[in-house]
Amino acid sequence: MGILESLKALLFGKHDVSEGKKDEKPEPAVQKAEPVKTESVPATEKPADVIVEKKASIIQEPKEEKPVAEKITVGHVHMSGCTGCLVSFADNYEGLLTILDKYADLVYCLTLADVRHIPEMDVALVEGSVCINDHLSVEEIIETRKNSKIVVALGGCACYGNITRFCRGGQMNQPQHEGFLPIGDLIDVDVYIPGCAPTPQQIRNVCVMAYLLLKGNDEQKALAGAYLTPFMNLAKAGTEACGCDIMTQVINQGLCMGCGSCAAACPVRAISMEYGKPQIERDLCIKCGACYAQCPRSFFSFDVVNQYEAIMDAIDAAMQP
């Protein structure tokens, strides 16, 4: 429980655990905010500059209102993807705003912000695979690795190729664009979030845990490390996924117990349960990797899952605006 108390302490800026002194930290933060606002007041005299100044204050205000530790920097890198992974991130609704308010600055995201080049980032959420016949894409993924502390392959395409595994070129107006690889075939990847689309809740959990890993105390780092370990192991395990993994890694290994999670996880209903065992329609499978990752007999950490109640409460609490 020590871990979770201190987790809450970090997430709440000590509101939950310490008495009396809890308001001392926010105050200086608010005072810091004021000079920014006063700077923008004289700017109202020059209409042309107002917009620029207001933009700056919109970005900075939430950061300064909240009594939290330093934020991490996060970027969204769009390779050969469909933006569905980003939509999934956004589908945390107000949770996304909480993440941006409290834990992370979005420093790069062509869909949402006007930053043109890949900056330095604590965490890069990379969606899509890489077209190796498009030199710009190859440069960008290399740049991403160089500039990021943690590279996350976000979604089935970045992790495993997913639907781009089926590309073979021959379409206008770049018929030579035929070779697509998951990002892990070009750079080292630290964390996988499989799924097509990855779920909002999974992205949220990884964001909170990545924050703790980078900004937390030792205990919080340990919790976050334990939580993220399976996704780090998936990243080490390789770049190929298929419904066949359910056969080769679970049933063939004598591990399947017929729970049906794989069938529930599959986005294209390629898996049905026949007499208690998964039956996979491999021609329907789009190779997203969700079934294997969701299977409780792929990875299962008692250390983490036994604490499910406390971890879920803590994540819920972290997501309070």
Binding site: L255, M257, C259, A263, A264, C291, Q294, Y308, E309
Partner: protein, 288 residues
């Protein structure tokens, strides 16, 4: 830790004679869901429903008392209840989901809530997870073998199957009883059960089984904050009759013994997978 975390353990049975009539033991599962449905705690539950083959369970979303009644009783073969865990929040449109399952299915559920890779919006919609004790399960074909071959009884004529007191029991509609020594059942066990390290559904909100309590009664572990709250409300509503677990025979000691036996045996098998299968190779261990 062989019994997991829990806030209280009691012996209990449903106060509803109609539920008890077709229940396996104390009718705990059916009564809990029926109460939770009435009280608006859940708006439906994933249960093991009937199918077109006798004693072959089929996962089903029950949203009425009638559907819950149809799911009473243990079917000793695989019911992939987790296969509906996403659909129940989609076409069924449920926001407050109940689900019953074996310990492995409770593990699958909690993993799904913590790591929802392919289960969008599922984590927050689980309102009541009821776990049932489980020593092992059987493929359906194994049940046919046991009942029709070893038991020389037509499965269509069977009223109830039960494992208890060291035997596999077959009760027919016409009142006959056949029992098989558990020894003959072992080779039909689902192989995936042999790496299972949970007997009493440690990860459920409330778990229940027959072991420990007298016939017609159940042993109940109330585990999570959610489970504690629902159990208290169900007791207050008069849904259950309870006895302190210390006052019943054989009581918690037998539960502890069986749980320890299961975990020790399966832990040993897991270790053998790492050393005895192959030369310089190991079978995969899912527990990292």
């Amino acid at each position: 830790m062989v019994l997991g975390n829990y806030k209280q353990v009691v012996a209990a049975r449903s106060t509803d004679p109609e539920i008890l009539r077709g229940a396996q033991d104390g009718g705990i599962v059916t009564q809990l869901f029926a109460y939770a449905l009435d009280a608006g705690i859940i708006d439906g539950a994933i249960v093991a429903g009937p199918s077109d083959e006798p004693f072959k369970p089929e996962p089903m979303v029950a949203t009425t008392r009638e559907e819950l009644m149809a799911s009473r009783g243990t079917r000793y073969s695989i019911s992939p209840n987790m296969s509906l865990i996403k659909e129940v929040t989609r076409s069924y449109g449920l926001d407050k989901v109940g689900v019953v399952g074996t310990p492995c299915q409770m593990q699958a559920l909690r993993k799904g809530q913590l790591y929802p890779v392919g289960l969008r919006d599922v984590p927050d919609k689980i309102a009541l997870a009821v776990g049932i004790f489980c020593m092992e399960n059987f493929p359906y074909q194994g049940i046919i073998q046991l009942v029709e071959d070893h038991g020389a009884t037509k499965l269509d004529n069977v009223r109830k199957l039960d494992i208890g007191k060291g035997k596999f029991w077959i009760y027919t509609e016409r009142g006959a009883t056949v029992d098989l020594p558990l020894k003959v059942t072992h080779k039909y066990e689902q192989p995936g059960c042999h790496v299972c390290l949970d007997y009493v559904a440690n990860l459920a909100d409330i778990s229940t089984g027959s072991v420990g309590a007298p016939d017609g009664w159940s042993t109940i572990f109330v585990r999570s904050a959610k489970g504690d709250d629902i159990w208290a409300k169900a007791i207050a509503a008069g849904a259950f009759e309870t006895k302190p677990i210390e006052s019943v025979k054989p009581g918690i000691d037998l539960v502890t013994k069986l749980a320890t036996d299961k975990i020790t045996k399966n832990q040993k098998y897991l270790e053998s997978r790492a050393t005895e299968y192959g030369v310089g190779k190991a079978l995969r261990n899912p527990y990292i």
